[in-house]
């Protein structure tokens, strides 16, 4: 009889350990997945840029410094790795793109061209997607960090080799304002 109770208690404890361990691993994987989603959207944005720059160049020939700023920010964004670097490069590129779109405002012919309009739609939806992917990532990091710091999951964090993760933070507070485009 005692043996059954002991075995039962051990089995319950084992189940409990497995559940905590798996929860941490799952949270860790969702953070990784959320981060790769940010990277997918950033990649899509960098792919759009050469086309956009060419289109704007066709109309606005005297804006070389703006183009250079975008091209160099793009180059930095493509080589960045690690959460903090990617976030910094992302912020710089958003800034440069905003400059480019501001330049476009001064050229009515450019603004009316269908090529530019479709690029602008693609760019703004990609900006929104970057912002949402970032938000989703940070939500996942928040859940993971809470689990790493609170009982009972914190007791298993070392064993599962799961540690607190970095939030994806964009320095410029304006960055959080998703560009508004009419539908």
């Amino acid at each position: 009889m005692e043996l059954i109770i002991i075995v039962g208690v051990i089995a319950l404890l084992a189940l409990f350990f497995v559940a905590q361990y798996n929860r941490l691993i799952r949270l860790n994987i969702s953070v990784d997945e959320a981060f790769s989603q940010i990277e997918v959207q950033l990649k899509r944005r960098t792919d759009l840029i050469p086309n956009l720059v060419e289109t704007v160049k066709g109309y606005a020939t005297h804006e070389q410094s703006t183009f250079d700023a975008v091209v160099s920010a793009r180059a930095k964004a493509t080589t960045a790795s690690g959460v903090a670097d990617v976030a910094a490069a992302d912020g710089a590129l958003t800034q440069a793109l905003r400059g480019l779109l501001a330049v476009a405002e001064a050229y009515p012919d450019l603004k009316a061209s269908s090529n530019f309009l479709s690029l602008q739609e693609e760019l703004s939806t990609t900006e929104n997607k970057v912002a949402f992917a970032r938000q989703f990532y940070n939500d996942n990091v928040r859940s993971l960090n809470t689990a790493v710091k609170t009982v009972p999951t914190n007791l298993f964090a070392g064993f599962a080799k799961v540690t607190e993760r970095e939030f994806y933070e964009v320095s410029d507070p304006q960055e959080r304002n998703v560009p508004k485009v009419t539908f």
Binding site: Q41, T125, N128, K129, A133, F136, F183
Partner: protein
């Protein structure tokens, strides 16, 4: 009722749903007990399983095939990215915010602005828009509507309403059986002789009132799920103003969706039924002014 922020609103509405579902369970227990008292173990032992079985078959068939069934019932047509790239862009944005898989997208030819979501799980989700809603809403408003619909998917509201409909359905069928048996004067033959008359009268009362109570509970659950979806939508977009403006557009528009079948009324974002005719207690949606006020309270918090 204006909950402070979206997290508090989500928690409150989830809590209320559990309470209502528990009340539904309690009501079912009460009805079964009343049936046992009134009819005795022999008769109740056969009609209770039959009622539950009938309700299960009816509701769960439509739950399982909800995405396909609703397409036929509402006349919605599935579309692909090429049909409306801008709409797909906005949907993909909210999908990223929610972490859900991309749903199927459909369009209903209709002059009333409205939208709905269905599907038994996130992998079989479908969201549909009327042609009119795409004309009258700007990008922010549409984003709010999409977030509300995807919230129904995330919160598994097709499942919640299937559970509610099964219980209400089983109770209605049971009560119907009772009425028929009373007309034929049978039913109580095999009951124990020691039942007292007060218990019999009370059981009868329970069996008669139960379908109404179940219908009220079903509507109450639907209303709570709508409030929950509004709160979850804000957790996706962090932009209560978008959904609030969208609801204002819907509130100012008096046209209602052409097909007014009660059976699918609960799935639309705005109730397609005429509110003045339907009593508030039986309505599937909270009053739109109340929803707008709750979202405004969230805006002022800057959540």
């Amino acid at each position: 009722m204006a909950a402070a922020n979206f997290r508090a609103a989500q928690a409150a509405n989830k809590g209320k749903t559990y309470f209502l579902l528990a009340s539904m369970g309690l009501l079912t227990g009460l009805v079964v007990y009343a049936a046992l008292t009134y009819f005795g173990a022999g008769t109740a032992g056969s009609i209770v399983p039959i009622s539950v079985g009938l309700a299960l078959v009816g509701v769960w068939g439509s739950y399982y095939g909800s995405d396909k069934l609703v397409l036929t019932m509402t006349g919605a047509k599935l579309i692909t990215r090429d049909d409306n790239p801008a709409l797909f862009n906005v949907i993909e944005e909210v999908v990223l915010a929610s972490g859900l898989p991309m749903p199927k997208v459909a369009i209903v030819e209709d002059t009333a602005p409205n939208a709905f979501a269905t599907g038994r799980n996130p992998d079989h989700a479908l969201i549909a828009f009327t042609t009119r809603i795409l004309e009258v809403m700007d990008r922010d408003e549409l984003q709010g509507v999409i977030a509300h619909e995807l919230s129904h998917v995330a919160n598994r509201d097709t499942l919640v309403s299937a559970v509610a409909a099964t219980t209400a359905g089983a109770i209605a069928i049971l009560s119907d059986f009772l009425m028929r048996m009373m007309w034929f004067g049978g039913g109580r033959r095999d009951r124990d002789s020691n039942s007292n008359p007060i218990a019999l009268v009370l059981s009868l009362l329970v069996l008669i009132m139960a379908p109404i109570a179940a219908a009220l509970l079903k509507s109450a659950i639907s209303r709570k799920r709508e409030s929950l979806a509004d709160a979850t939508a804000v957790s996706f977009t962090r932009n209560p103003a978008g959904l609030r403006k969208a609801l204002e557009v819907l509130a100012s528009d008096s046209t209602v969706v052409r097909q007014k079948s009660n059976a699918v009324a609960h799935i639309w974002i705005e109730s397609p039924l005429d509110m003045r005719a339907a009593s508030r207690l039986f309505s599937t949606h909270p009053p739109i002014e109340e929803r707008i006020a709750t979202l405004k309270a969230m805006e002022s918090l800057g959540s």
